[in-house]
Amino acid sequence: MSYLEYNIKHVPTGLRKVLHVNWPLVLLMIAIASFGFLMLYSVAGGSFDPWASAQMKRFAMGLGLMFFIGFVPIYLWRNLSPLFYIVSLVLLVLVELVGETGMGAQRWLNLGFMRLQPSELMKIALVLVLAAYYDWLDNERRSKLLWVLIPVLLIVIPSFLVLRQPDLGTTLLLMIGGASVIFFAGVHWMYFAGVISAGIATVAGVFLSRGTPYQFLKDYQYRRIDTFLDPSADPLGAGYHITQAKIALGSGGWTGRGFMQGTQTRLNFVPEKHTDFIFTTLAEEFGFVGAASLLALYAGVLIFAFASAFKNKDRFSSLMIMGLAVTFFLYFAVNMSMVMGLAPVVGVPLPLVSYGGSAMLVILISFGFVQSAHIHRPR
């Protein structure tokens, strides 16, 4: 059902929109961010400087932006989504040409007043454009090969650009986030089965051919994959971080070592303790109870987002909400798997908790779209 078809009279206008905001989602996000403030205060050795205060300011700004986006009617965003996508793509190409390098990867565009990470924008733009695409596409054509190739290209082009930076974490998020929208749109499941089998076959082929005269990759490439998959094979190099993170987590026990008592993080044994590895601080200081609580809050966000999507009769809105929710899910699932030693180390922050402007802004903007869809849903 397209937007034009619903009864516009029932969509709230003006200040009445405030009453229709999905408040549980907002509160959950504030709760999660508060965990972040607490942890940033702790890792700074009991100080709001340098991280907690800056993070709070950004969160307040981001929250404002979220409400602003939320109050703008969703159809406007839908109509703009192709433009968003094109702009993001252009910025990604620009990063490739003139981007700034940081931590071994070319990711940032310096806009003078801020440093922009176009790959973060692309996470939202991709979900939006795919949702708009399937909102536009009629049911008969959606499982036809040609009409499946178009969204695949929409995903693959930016993914390729991001992979070149190189940023494996974001590439993963883009591809799975995009694929989830195609999946939710109802494209025939055989496509997914095919892609997944092909992927498994490739991985199996790569590994099974190892050591035979027909091996796919060079020996040194295999060795790099080895350390990537199992950092503990290199305990002083790549493995050091993950080993220390596991020690921090484990030493938390049931209730943790107490606020600001985490030795692993406070004494710098854990790297990136305020950004990608902030979960270790939480788990060390508040233990299993604290870590599980954060997990529950994240689950709450997903439940309310999916519930909102299921209830929304607008196809664009529901696809977009679910796509953004999946992106949010991927953020913390990948981050937590990484710090708990379940997945290789890829640079993905813990959403709303890790210190950092870009990621936090992207999450809040994306939930701005979720709120917009929620407020302006057809009734």
Binding site: M1, D138, G186, G250, W254, T263, F310, S318, L319
Partner: protein, 647 residues
């Protein structure tokens, strides 16, 4: 685009269905994450807690204060003095080079020191304090403190370092400490973790080395929390160590000082021993060196100088050096003859200046011979022929057995470096050592302390003390450890007949008090303090028949290395022996001229406890002695002052 309501309905169902499928996948992920948390935080928590503590807690050792060493009267011989040093911390200093050059303008700091400090500073973490200069004076510290604002990152620190306030006097007895080396670690079987501290000071020689375990003490520990790069965050726990035991030696510092001063200028040594208790009152060895230089790290030229010195200042000659004892061993031969009933004290031997044994002429030191000699006069005049006769009667086995009883050829357990065991040769020893049979000539040589016989000044002093006391007294160097008296074995009688001892003692008394005595010139005339002794002159070269025919070359005409060793052993007072003494002057010429006067002077100093009055000396020597006393007084006091300077 427009859709039919049916389509819309179906689309909504698809979205919901697929959303639920995906939700299921997400649930699976939540399950995995939760399971992993449980695994890490609940199941393996204790193990990880342990690892976390291992990460952050560092156990540091607190070096204990080393035990002090005192002399028998409580005078300090080895102490721990506050040592000022200056350290630099890179992260506080900023421009390290600039700060160091500013420091160089204030205190005496060589360019090499600065370069070395710069190198270390760059290698270590920025927060690690690096020692720039050590052993600073209080003035330097004050200058640094005043100029602190211009010297960021520079702080004076106080540590302890070993100081020997008596400098050279005790270098050979106490030895010195130095930083533990890989060589030390390989050599000693010691699990003490203190030894793992870089530059930890351990005893290298002498008492410092042999009494290391008493002096060292026990390490304390402190647990500190460090961060990932090793910076110390805070102290968690501290357990103080136990400082080392203080030692009190039997040495009398003032006598030691006098002895060293009296020996100075020659390559000589002396041992003074208490006849009744076995206490070693002085162990002199000249020349000596300043142990404080070794503690601070001696310079290569200084060290090379010590090594190249012909007089071997590094050797402790009194216990390490072994010499042919010469005539000082004649008491042994005499006692062996008397105790074995091979001769009677009154038996006489005719001395013509030589005796012919096995187609060889064995000469007496006196060309014309002594005529008829009995045991006492053989000692008094040191007749060699008498002992050639005795040697043939008694045999080497009996002589060596008596030597052993009197302490020659036996190693005393003293806390000193490389205590020599000397040699009292036997037939079996020669067969083993040289694969040759013992010949009668060997016995003749041994009887007058030449040939294979070797003994150290310490052994000669013990021998004299045993003859004087008639007991098997053993030497003792450590009086108390941590205030507790060390137990010396109670001396037992040697089992030598009183009459034999009396004959030998009479002979020794005659040496120093009869006009014919070889030590007569160096007699003591003070009442109740008379000395009994024996001179000895031992050859370090063979005198050929041709030389003997043309007249033996006088010592003064020989190069130093080929001159005879001069020896003297004695005890006093003769009628109630208190101290035994031995003096060896390497290549000093004759025992009566070179060694006996030194022995008398040191003995008098020991008996009086201060510089003796001139009337203890024979009348005609007093003016010379007065002059000599004055010189030694100056020398002794400058040695003391020098020692203070070097602290």
């Amino acid at each position: 685009m427009r859709r039919t309501p049916k389509d819309v309905e179906q689309n909504a169902r698809t979205v919901s269905r697929r959303g639920i499928i995906f939700g299921g996948l997400q649930l699976l992920m939540f399950g995995t994450l939760g399971w992993r948390m449980r695994q890490l935080q609940l199941r393996d928590s204790e193990q990880f807690r342990l690892l976390a503590d291992e990460n952050r807690i560092n156990i540091r050792l607190l070096p204990p204060a080393r035990g002090l060493i005192f002399d028998r009267n409580g005078k300090a011989l080895a102490i721990n003095e506050q040592n000022y040093r200056v350290v630099i911390v890179r992260e506080d200093a900023g421009d390290v080079e600039k700060v160091l050059s500013q420091l160089q303008m204030l205190i005496n700091l060589s360019d090499e020191d600065v370069a070395a400090a710069l190198k270390t500073v760059k290698q270590r973490s920025p927060f690690v304090p690096i020692t720039v200069a050590d052993h600073l004076t209080w003035d330097d510290v004050a200058k640094i403190a005043v100029n602190a604002p211009a010297l960021p990152g520079i702080t004076p620190e106080v540590g302890f370092s070993r100081v020997y306030p008596r400098g050279k006097d005790f270098a050979h007895v106490i030895g010195y400490v130095g930083p533990v080396s890989d060589y030390d670690l390989a050599k000693i079987d010691d699990q003490d973790p203190l030894l793992q501290i870089p530059k930890f000071q351990i005893g290298k020689t002498g008492v410092e080395n042999k009494k290391e375990r008493d002096l060292r003490g026990k390490a304390g520990t402190k647990s500190i929390e460090v961060n990932a790069v090793g910076r110390v965050m805070r102290e968690l726990e501290r357990q103080e160590g136990q400082s080392g035991d203080d030692l009190q030696l039997t040495i009398d510092a003032s006598l030691q000082n006098y002895a060293e001063a009296r020996l100075a200028g020659q390559s000589a040594s002396c041992v003074v021993m208490d006849v009744k208790s076995g206490d070693l009152i002085a162990i002199g060895s000249a020349p000596s060196f300043d142990p404080n230089k070794f503690v601070r790290g001696i310079s290569v030229p200084d060290y090379q100088g010590l090594l190249d010195d012909e007089f071997r200042p590094l050797a402790s000659k009194s216990v390490q050096g072994t010499y042919p004892p010469g005539s000082t061993v004649k008491m042994v031969t005499a006692l062996a003859a008397l105790e074995g009933d091979f001769a009677d004290a009154a038996d006489t031997v005719r001395c013509n200046g030589y005796t012919e044994v096995a187609d060889r002429n064995f000469h007496c030191w006196k060309r014309g011979g002594h005529g008829k000699v009995d045991l006492v006069s053989s000692l008094v005049e040191s007749c060699d022929v008498y002992y050639y006769e005795m040697a043939q009667k008694v045999g080497i086995e009996n002589i060596s057995a008596m030597a052993k009883r009197l302490g020659l050829g036996s190693k005393f357990s003293l806390p000193l470096s490389a205590v020599a065991s000397g040699l009292a040769p036997t037939k079996e020893w020669k067969r083993k050592r040289y694969g040759k049979d013992w010949v009668i000539g060997d016995s003749l040589n041994a009887a007058i302390g030449q040939g294979f016989v070797k003994s150290s000044p310490l052994q000669l002093a013990v021998m004299t003390a045993r003859i004087a006391s008639g007991t098997d007294i053993t030497p003792r160097l450590v009086k108390t450890i941590n205030g507790r008296e060390t137990l010396a074995p109670k001396p037992e009688s040697l089992g030598i007949a009183t009459s034999s001892l009396k004959a030998v003692r009479d002979g020794m008394f005659g040496v120093s008090n009869l006009t014919r005595g070889t030590g007569f010139r160096s007699r003591i005339i003070a009442k109740g303090m008379r000395m009994a002794g024996k001179t000895g002159t031992s050859q370090v070269r063979n005198i050929s028949a041709a030389e003997r025919a043309s007249g033996v070359i006088r010592n003064e005409d020989l190069p130093w290395k080929r001159r005879d060793h001069a020896l003297f052993v004695g005890y006093a007072p003769a009628d109630d022996p208190k101290y035994a003494i031995s003096v060896v002057v390497e290549h000093g010429g004759g025992g009566s001229t070179a060694a006996a006067p030194i022995a008398r002077d040191i003995m008098l100093q020991a008996l009086y406890g201060e510089l003796p009055p001139l009337d203890a000396y024979p009348t005609n020597q007093r003016s010379t002695i007065r002059r000599q006393q004055r010189e030694i007084n100056i020398l002794a006091s400058t040695r003391k002052a020098g020692a203070k300077d070097s602290t």
